[in-house]
């Protein structure tokens, strides 16, 4: 089988503190020119002053066979996104070489270049051209794109009047018809909307099935496991593991869970200090304890401390409930109708979310905070999570001392119906289980 992507000795260096790598002001540049000779005299020998290097990627080498679906995992800032940016030619590497065989498309740019004032029809052509399609190609696929997006009747309406759903469908429809030989997908950038993510994944499965090469960067371990046959783990810019997805993902999760005990605090505030920061996450039980093991029969509350620097009605704060197998569910403070949303004002506040009583299993669970600006960009979206243990004690059944499989162990209502021998029909009464007929 031929090689679709060949990466050899790839490195990307950022110079921190150097004006060349960051938008500076002209004054800085002029001062630098003026000061440089003096500095050179003072620090004879050491050439670069306070500039520090940061290698976002270091000596990364691996090949991807054509038709392979490969997952890239790693903590936030590990270098995953930098890798995708180099592969999609957005930024250039400092060292090394990548050889790509075939047309490259990426789903990290859905809706890029859409202009709100232009109509759906106009945006299809514009976006197609930005993604690298020719006019003839877009015209040929135009009807398919419109069908897929289900917006036919609004084709000549300016996109600014579209609902978010319509906008995303249209944007995705264009990207999906690019038909690249190599597809790069960054889940991190496909904001919020669960339905949309599902559609992305569905489309990826379709593409993967059609013999295309897919590189998938994600925090969703279940999705990585389902979709990818092989996984590469990156940490601090280097490839630290490469192999069958089940093995790599399991080992990764095990390490994330910090084998020697629960993680009760976030390593540092998450988010954007100019917009919104998540400063702490806690799980609190009925006695006000914040340390596990917690009891599944108690009311547990997840508390998220938020620091809002700039007000924005489109903020969403929430969390992913995780188990060792990956995501169980995601919840947002905006899940209910708008009049019930808890207010999120400027300054510090604590959002509280009550977990349903009696659904957790005897497991170690993780709470990974999430925050975004709805349908725009992520603020908090990574693997940083707090981990806690739960003792399952909400089932009174003498049978439920045994460990039950699954990420959750909810207590559900059961009943039975049918012809019962020797008893009246009023047998079903009380309890979650009906009394077994006497033999």
């Amino acid at each position: 089988m031929s090689t679709a992507i060949s990466i050899a000795g790839l490195g990307k260096r950022y110079l921190i503190g150097a004006s060349r790598e960051r938008a500076g002001t002209l004054r800085d540049a002029i001062t630098n020119v003026a000061v440089a000779p003096v500095r050179r005299l003072r620090h004879a020998g050491s050439s670069t002053g306070h500039v520090t290097e940061h290698w976002a990627l270091r000596d990364v080498s691996f090949d991807v066979a054509s038709g392979q679906v490969i997952g890239v995992i790693g903590r936030n800032g590990a270098g995953k996104s930098t890798l995708l940016k180099i592969l999609s030619r957005i930024t250039e590497p400092t060292t090394g070489r990548v050889t790509l065989q075939g047309r490259v498309g990426s789903l990290l740019e859905v809706g890029t270049g859409f202009h709100p004032e232009l109509s759906g029809r106009e945006n299809i052509y514009l976006n197609g051209a930005i993604l690298g399609m020719t006019r003839a190609e877009i015209s040929r696929k135009f009807d398919d794109i419109v069908d897929f997006s289900e917006i036919a009747e609004f084709l000549d309406t300016p996109v600014k009047r579209y609902s978010t759903g319509m906008f995303v469908r249209l944007a995705f429809a264009v990207a999906a018809h690019l038909e690249p030989e190599i597809l790069l997908v960054d889940e991190v950038l496909s904001v919020g909307d669960l339905g949309f993510q599902r559609k992305c994944l569905g489309q990826m499965e379709e593409i993967a099935g059609s013999g295309r090469t897919v590189m998938f960067v994600s925090h969703n371990m279940a999705a990585v496991r389902n979709l990818c046959t092989r996984v590469v783990e990156i940490d601090e810019g280097r490839v630290v593991a490469d192999g069958p997805s089940d093995d790599i993902v399991q080992a990764y999760i095990a390490r994330q869970m910090a084998m020697d005990g629960a993680v009760l605090h976030l390593p540092h505030p998450l988010g954007d200090p100019e917009e919104l920061l998540v400063t702490a996450v806690r799980v609190v039980d009925e006695q006000g304890r914040t340390e596990g093991p917690f009891h599944s029969s108690e009311q547990l509350v997840v508390e998220i401390d938020v620091d809002v620097a700039r007000e924005n009605a489109a903020y969403q704060v929430g969390f992913d409930l995780l188990s060792g197998d990956g995501l169980i569910f995601r919840t947002w403070h905006t899940d209910g109708p708008p009049e019930e949303w808890p207010p999120l004002k400027l300054g510090r506040s604590t959002l509280r979310c009550r977990l349903p009583v009696g659904i957790l299993n005897e497991l170690r669970y993780g709470i990974a905070p999430r925050a975004d600006v709805y349908s725009s960009h992520w603020l908090v979206h990574g693997d940083d999570a707090i981990w806690f243990d739960v003792v399952k004690d909400h089932k009174d059944s003498p049978f439920s001392w045994a460990w039950s499989p699954g990420a959750l162990a909810p207590l559900l209502e059961w009943s039975s119906a049918g012809e019962l021998k020797g008893e009246s029909a009023s047998a079903s009464q009380g309890g979650l289980w009906t009394t077994p007929p006497a033999l």
Partner: protein, 286 residues
């Protein structure tokens, strides 16, 4: 970024090699040609958006130069006594002929100068030759130019000024104006990414540049000798002079004109290389 698109021997799929670029980048004009449709679409978008957003839309393209022309005629000609430099040419027509290429140039600088930073969301998400961005902004000023040109034709009719046969050279001067505009825009748009002060410098620069360009006064007011040489280092001096020669038959292009053309090429080619060189860090910096 070095990118060699070549057909691989065995596979039918194109092969793409991504490597760090060393030294000065190639201009990559072949790749730019491959992306000509994107240039077309972005230009078309810029034009469409501008006219859709403004209530008066196309009318602005008429009002802007006409009002400026009226004000100049009143202030400079009537009040301060500035002439057109030749007898048969009314001042209104004279200054409008200068405004035509000047507005193209000034409009380009203000829209193209901020174009790269304004396209940050494109640059950080998708690859295409970055030269497309300022180029499309410059080309987007053409409709305004064409509308103003129609106004000029009407104005010449009203003042009964007949164009000379030199008018056949006009397309060359339009091209020269576009080259000067793109050249300056390439410098400014790349500098703007690296230094955010450029946004304050652009309006100031346009204003200064305007006074150094013979829009409302004739070049005959400039002393000959060294002052004239320095004055003609301004690419727009040649462009405006060329327009007046082609349309009104004033001052045929001489050595001073070619000096100005040479400067235009220096600014343009220098701008191309500078932009290509800086382009590498755009996505990291913007």
């Amino acid at each position: 970024m070095t990118t060699d698109v070549q057909t691989a021997h065995a596979a039918e799929a194109p092969q793409l090699v991504i490597e760090p670029t060393k030294g000065w980048a190639k201009l990559g004009l072949r790749e730019l040609w491959q992306y000509r449709e994107l240039l077309y679409f972005l230009t078309w978008r810029n034009i469409l958006v501008r006219y859709k957003q403004a209530v008066l839309g196309v009318l602005w393209a008429v009002l802007n130069p006409v009002i400026t022309m009226v004000v100049f005629t009143l202030v400079f000609n009537r009040l301060l006594g500035v002439g057109s430099g030749s007898d048969g040419v009314p001042y209104a027509v004279f200054t409008f002929t200068g405004l035509l290429p000047w507005n193209l140039f000034a409009g380009s600088l203000s829209s193209a100068g901020s174009s790269v930073v304004g396209s940050a969301n494109l640059i950080t998400r998708v690859y295409f030759p970055r030269l497309v961005i300022p180029s499309s902004a410059v080309l987007g000023t053409l409709p305004d130019f064409l509308i103003a040109f129609v106004v000029l034709v009407v104005l010449m009719g009203v003042y009964q000024v007949a164009p000379t046969w030199h008018v056949v050279f006009l397309p060359f001067f339009v091209l020269l104006a576009l080259t000067a505009a793109l050249g300056a825009s390439l410098w400014l748009s790349a500098l703007y990414v690296l230094y955010r002060d450029v946004q304050y410098i652009i309006p100031f620069l346009v204003q200064l540049w305007f006074f150094l360009t013979p829009v409302f006064y004739p070049t005959s007011n400039i002393p000959s000798g060294w002052p004239s040489v320095v004055y003609n280092l301004n690419p727009m001096t040649g462009v405006v002079g060329g327009f007046r020669w082609a349309l009104l038959g004033q001052q045929p292009p001489g050595s001073m004109f070619w000096l100005s053309v040479a400067m235009t090429l220096v600014v343009f080619i220098g701008g191309l290389y500078y932009f290509r060189r800086m382009e590498r860090v755009f996505a990291d910096v913007v």
